[in-house]
């Protein structure tokens, strides 16, 4: 069990506090491919960022890679993000001023690996997602699918045990979506990280081992309690 979530609550404070996640419990096994689906505003992203230790607003027990996020130190959570967790976003978040290769190599910038080593690995990962020939290009020149594959390669730089994707195909056309699904499947087959993907896309959902359906911050179907 690489992820264990027990009674997770996420509440955004404000004039009117928003209870985005209200008592969610589920587990993810090593190497598993799990999708989280549900209508807009149901709390999918909130769960994902809570798993990535990026949401201070969460309560309940979240264990990732054996680390209990609710009582871990700030530096332990930084370590976790650097070494155990990889993120992929709908918006790619590539840095325009860097080449594709540099963007990927940045994925393990905060792990202390030397730049030379990082670039070697980055090149191999770009090859494995099928865009090794674009290493020297600038991100602006890439298609959406190529951008997302760059972002996935970046997320894999730290050899994570969990890959968290927030609507990775949200900005992609059919063909690019297929490419991304292909890449995520390959990662699994090669003994890569467990994948948790938030998606609206039925095809992505269909490619996953199982889907967790969320409605108003509560899990509808999926993991038995």
């Amino acid at each position: 069990m690489i992820i264990s979530v027990r009674d997770l609550h996420v509440t955004y404070e404000g004039p009117v506090p928003v209870q985005a996640v209200r008592g969610v419990t589920f587990h993810v096994e090593e190497g598993e491919f799990v999708s989280i689906v549900g209508p807009s505003g149901s709390g999918k992203s909130s769960i994902l960022y809570a798993l990535g230790a990026l949401l201070p607003q969460s309560a309940g027990q979240v264990m990732v890679g054996g680390v209990n996020l609710s009582n871990s130190s700030e530096s332990a959570r930084n370590e976790l993000r650097a070494h155990t967790i990889g993120f992929v976003f709908q918006e790619f978040h590539l840095l325009a001023r860097m080449s594709v290769l540099e963007n990927v190599a940045m994925g393990s910038l905060y792990t202390g690996v030397r730049p030379r080593k990082r670039e070697e690995l980055a090149l191999r990962l770009l090859d494995s997602v099928g865009i090794g020939q674009l290493a020297d290009a600038t991100p602006q020149r890439l298609s959406g699918g190529e951008k997302q594959r760059t972002a996935i390669a970046r997320a894999l730089m730290g050899s994570p045990r969990v890959l968290l994707c927030d609507e990775p195909s949200g900005n992609l056309d059919r063909e690019s979506t297929h490419n991304v699904i292909q890449v995520l499947n390959d990662i699994r087959l090669e003994g890569g990280p467990a994948v948790v993907v938030v998606t609206h896309d039925p095809e992505v959902q269909a490619a996953s081992d199982r889907a967790l359906t969320l409605r108003d911050g509560v899990l509808m179907r999926g993991e038995p309690q």
Partner: protein, 399 residues
């Protein structure tokens, strides 16, 4: 192990990231660098120009403000200055006042406190000047206490003395209350005044002046005759050229003429005024530079919210984020400092060339400007850097 590896990120990697970050907005970065360099160039230039001007200022005052002449007989000369010659000089156009004095051989022993035979007497070799009372007016003497001797003292051949302040201090005389006396050799004189400063003829400050009519009682040899001349500034050099001919028509070569300028401390005071003006102007310039760096860094941080979120998602600590932005603003400051001191030095050399003065500048000034640039950049970056490190990563990453 891991944390040591991560610490290495902070040193090497973050510098690279900071430079990358600055390259993201090359025009903005360049403008900020130019902005800060203007402030620092102003500093280097104003300090440099004031230093150069200061170095040249004494000379300029000498040229513009010389308004005294001092004529002195050569060591070997035995020259008598005749009364009618003095009268002729007084009548010369541009001459305002003339006074005659004479000095005695150096090393006259002056004693105070109890007289020459007392055990606790202070004995100091000093210059003794014999003069008419008008000398004090001509040399612009100002008294810290007491007064000059007058025609009455001269007529009575009174044994009175006016001390220069330096000699008075060494003798331990601070006031004329209690009627202090000094001895020159074995002759006693009452101190009636202490001179604190003169416009020229500094000998008076570390010596003493007695009435010419009382000098006969001294068992001493006169070493030179002095003529002090107060002139109108415009005529000073003209008079300097003829004064010895007027006073000693038969042996003008026996008199040396020196032109006296304002005392140098006036120039120094003006120089320090210019310095403080430079510092005030500079402070404003540097402050403006700091504000502009802070403003630009704040904009940078705001625009790069999603980059900050991304870095946090990749494992960057708050400290990593803060350090990167701090390095960016320190780099901008450092480059501004480099550019600013180059421009500043160029300005100093340029202004000096145009005004035909020697460019003078302490070597520390450009180095100081570079360091100040880096410091200002760092300080100005603190608040934006802290803001960047505190940004909630999740909200900037999600759609």
């Amino acid at each position: 192990m891991r944390s040591r590896q991560r610490a290495r990120v902070a040193t090497a990697g973050l510098v690279r990231e900071a430079i990358h970050g600055l390259m993201a907005f090359p025009i903005r970065t360049a403008l900020t660098v130019i902005g800060i360099s203007v402030g620092l160039a102003a500093m280097v230039a104003s300090v440099g120009i004031s230093e150069s001007t200061g170095a040249n200022i004494a000379f300029r005052f000498f040229e513009a403000q010389a308004d005294h002449l001092l004529l002195r007989t050569r060591d070997t000369a035995t020259l008598e200055i005749r009364d009618d010659a003095l009268r002729d000089l007084r009548a010369y156009p541009g001459v305002q006042a003339v006074a005659l004095a004479s000095e005695f051989r150096e090393g006259q022993i002056v004693t105070a406190r109890g007289g020459p035979d007392s055990v606790d007497a202070v004995r100091i070799p000093a210059s003794v000047v014999a003069a008419q009372g008008s000398l004090f007016g001509v040399i612009g003497a100002s008294f810290t206490t007491g007064r000059p001797f007058d025609i009455g003292h001269v007529d009575r051949q009174a044994r009175v003395a006016v001390l220069g302040e330096d000699l008075a201090k060494r003798l331990g005389i601070w006031t004329i209350e209690g009627q202090p006396t000094v001895h020159i050799g074995d002759q006693e004189f009452s101190v009636i005044g202490i001179v604190g400063s003169v416009e020229f003829y500094d000998t008076v400050i570390d010596g003493l002046v007695i009435p010419e009519s009382a000098a006969g009682s001294l068992n001493a040899v006169r070493s030179s005759v002095i003529v002090a001349v107060d002139t109108e500034p415009a005529s000073t050099f003209l008079i300097a050229g003829v004064a010895n001919l007027v006073l000693a028509p038969t042996a003008p070569g026996d008199l040396t003429v020196s032109v006296a300028s304002r005392p140098p401390d006036v120039a120094a005071a003006i120089e320090s005024d210019i310095d403080s003006l430079a510092i005030a102007l500079t402070s404003v310039g540097v402050l403006v530079a700091a504000i502009s760096v802070a403003a630009v860094m704040t904009i940078n941080v705001t625009e790069r919210t999603s980059e900050i979120g991304l870095r946090r998602s990749l494992g960057a600590s708050k400290r990593h984020i803060a350090t990167q932005f701090l390095l960016e603003s320190a780099t901008v400051g450092l480059m501004g400092g480099l550019l600013g001191s180059m421009i500043g030095v160029g300005l100093v050399v340029g202004v000096a060339t145009v005004r035909d003065i020697e460019p003078v500048m302490s070597q520390e000034i450009p180095v100081f400007a570079i360091g100040l640039g880096a410091i200002v950049g760092t300080l100005a970056g603190i608040s934006p850097a802290i803001r960047a490190s505190r940004m909630a990563p999740a909200s900037s990453l999600r759609n």
